[in-house]
Symmetry: C2
Subunit: 435 residues, 2 copies
């Protein structure tokens, strides 16, 4: 039984119970959200020592970290360091997007290392196998693709990106649109090439019921990919993007009917004034399915700092209702991220999620800001550090730029907090202003 | 004559002409904006080799960099490096907030080095002089404060922060409010202490006409400070903040009547869903005066990454109409920023400003994204680098994470751009998918 099936029957599964406790929600409320598909709990029983996690409405905004080798950087060791950093700095989920080295070994090693939901994009492995076995991505068969999906589901992968909505019709929309950046999704590009070359419909769309059978059997959550997401803000919210979204909306309904948990992926490069609208459009078209956004990136010129660009878009998106943020690193558009890039990207996304959770009214979010600000007023640096988004960075900067006073080295004796708290409360305290 | 006086008479000054050219605006349109006070051109004729700059409606969002010594880090040399970095990475204005070392020498050196508007907070120098001469900030006289303001105006300072709105009444509002973080503005704290100790009204409010005389004589732009800006998101948009804003609105009107250019400073720590409202409130209450925001910071827990927190708030604020962003560095709340912190903070704010300019429709903003995305599609790395927000960082990451292919090391042979452009256009191109 999938978590959705349990919930539809009103059964509070052990996983749901844990999620409810973690999110300070009553299990009865959570079970209703899961039953309606507004919340998913990606939870493959073959994933050892997995801690259950909820994604969706009324829950804390979650952050995913993409790791994985490439052909230029195929080493497993660096990726395992990225896993460590991800776990230490609070990633909620990880996706292994490896395309270099021994894919099966890498995935298995990561799966056994992480107690948080692990996602993949199976078409990567299928495409690489097709090159190896048949000489080209284009020669991949439908069975090849489904064999990979089924194998990964059996292994214990918790959620998979499947580009089911990139149909022939969507490609026609793409052609008639005339985009600045065409297609920037790697999986999307594979599907597009395959469809055009073979003159066949998208195999994941045509065989969606087959996909649902596998997903249901292993309770693997489908993350409906947006292969046509805009790769330039000039392409945002255009006809191909929305065409694909309409298809995903249909597929959400079909998945839920088969008790398969489903979320929807979203853009991408979106100018600031279209971010909220994109979230509302997705929620409406996709029957309030949890929304998993990549960024959004509110400008195309930020390479080197795209974690900041994505934090801007991600905060706005999450405040508008997006449930799940895929992090973006400073190396985006430039290369495979380093371990440091992973940390920077993760923290930036967590800031975005937290800023949104405050205004979403997520239990406990604002309370942390309150406690930190109270500690700040008291110049209690240890407590501030403990509550800061990254206590290590907090400590590093404090050490490098330390003050001779109890305040910080920006204001020192002229610290406003110190001056005012003595003054406002005592109406005396000239000690503070003598210096 | 001030720029406002020229504009009211319909005279297109040489400075205004240059600003119009830079902003791709017709001088007739700009002169009307300046005449109404919706745009200011901080331009003190005693500032050598100053390039005129406009701030306000219809113009590119501007970014200010705060530099300056503290008692813990009084060295001029490091501050001059910060100036270099600020100029190289595109700061529009600089504020010298020095409180350590030889203040006059530091300010003079910076003034002669920067061809962009330079701002200060004169009460810092006045307060430090009062400590030296009279033993306490509290013993500062009204004449002491005005002497400093006049001297700085004569030197060539282009704009000054003056906390005129922190009145006795505002302090009453503060007391009755009961804040989490009381006062976090250093200048605000000085004024509050002085007012409470001396049982007198704020000297800059009481003697506002005297301030206007000096400002008018030297065309120094007044930046009406928000001494009661919230220092925790839990204090955002509260009664003391709005009380001060109401006073600033009155003073904007009085300044303009005396042909003094004026802008208004704003928060501070503001939750995401109150940012737009704050901008609209300021614009309405302050007669559409240019709005200069510090951040806003959308969470209190980001120390170490407050440049990212501020980029989120700054982008939203600027998109809603804020005209001028004061940068925030990673060292905010922790210490005086290093040279690297200055660069990081500046770039983050420039990203925020640019993301907003795209949706504000600022001429040329979107065009840069278009050109970069076109270069990205062609895998033209040199052109991408030239158009990126920080070409040096772009190059650094590229070098560290280089690919053996013409694409980047994330996807290499599987680059979606490469795959799709060959495919979508030629319907063939199996070269791209053979690998």
């Amino acid at each position: 039984m999938t978590q959705l099936e349990f919930a539809k029957k009103g059964t509070i599964s052990p996983a749901l119970k844990k999620v409810a406790r973690e999110e300070s929600l009553h299990p009865d409320e959570l079970v209703a959200l899961v039953a309606r598909g507004q919340v998913v709990i990606p939870f493959n029983s073959n994933h050892p020592r997995l801690r259950p996690l909820g994604i969706g409405r009324k829950l804390r905004t979650k952050v995913n970290v993409n790791i994985g080798t490439s052909r230029d950087f195929p080493g497993l060791e660096e990726e395992l360091k990225k896993v460590d950093v991800s776990l230490r700095y609070g990633a909620d989920t990880i996706m292994d997007l490896s395309t270099g080295g021994d894919l099966k070994k890498i995935r298995k090693t990561i799966l056994h290392k992480v107690p948080i939901p692990l996602g993949t994009v199976p078409v990567y492995e299928a495409a690489i196998e097709a090159i190896e076995k048949r000489g080209s991505i284009l020669a991949m068969t439908v069975d090849d693709l489904f064999a990979v999906i089924e194998a990964q589901a059996r292994e214990g992968i918790d959620f998979i990106t499947v580009h089911c909505g990139l149909t022939s019709k969507a490609i026609q929309r793409l052609k008639s649109q005339g985009r600045v950046a065409d297609v920037v999704s790697r999986g999307g590009a594979f599907h597009l090439a395959w469809i055009l070359h073979n003159q066949k419909e998208n195999p994941l769309y045509e065989n969606f019921d087959r996909l649902l059978e596998i997903a249901r059997a292993h309770d693997i959550t489908l993350s409906l990919g947006d292969g046509l997401r805009p790769g330039s803000i000039l392409d945002a919210t255009d006809r191909p993007q929305v065409e694909e979204l309409l298809t995903l909306g249909e597929l959400v309904k079909r998945a839920r009917e088969q008790n398969v948990q489903v979320i929807v992926e979203g853009p991408g490069h979106i100018p600031l004034d279209q971010v909220e609208m994109n979230v509302k459009l997705q929620k409406r078209i996709c029957h309030d399915a949890p929304f998993y956004v990549l960024g959004p990136l509110v400008t195309d010129i930020g390479a080197g700092y795209d974690h900041i660009v994505a934090a801007i878009g991600g905060a706005i998106a999450a405040a508008a209702g997006a449930d799940f943020l895929c992090y973006v690193t400073p190396a985006e558009h430039l290369g495979l991220p380093s371990v440091d890039d992973v940390r920077e990207g993760l923290i930036a996304s967590r800031i975005a999620g937290h800023a949104a959770d405050i205004v979403k009214g997520v239990p406990g979010a604002l309370d942390r800001d309150l406690k930190l600000s109270q500690a700040r007023k008291k110049l209690d640096w240890d407590k501030q550090k403990a509550l800061a988004i990254d206590p290590h960075k907090f400590e590093d900067i404090r050490k490098k730029r330390k003050s001779k006073t109890e305040a910080c080295s920006m204001c020192g004796e002229f610290c406003a907090m110190r001056l005012v708290s003595e003054f406002l409360n005592s109406h005396g305290g000239p000690d503070a202003v003598r210096c």
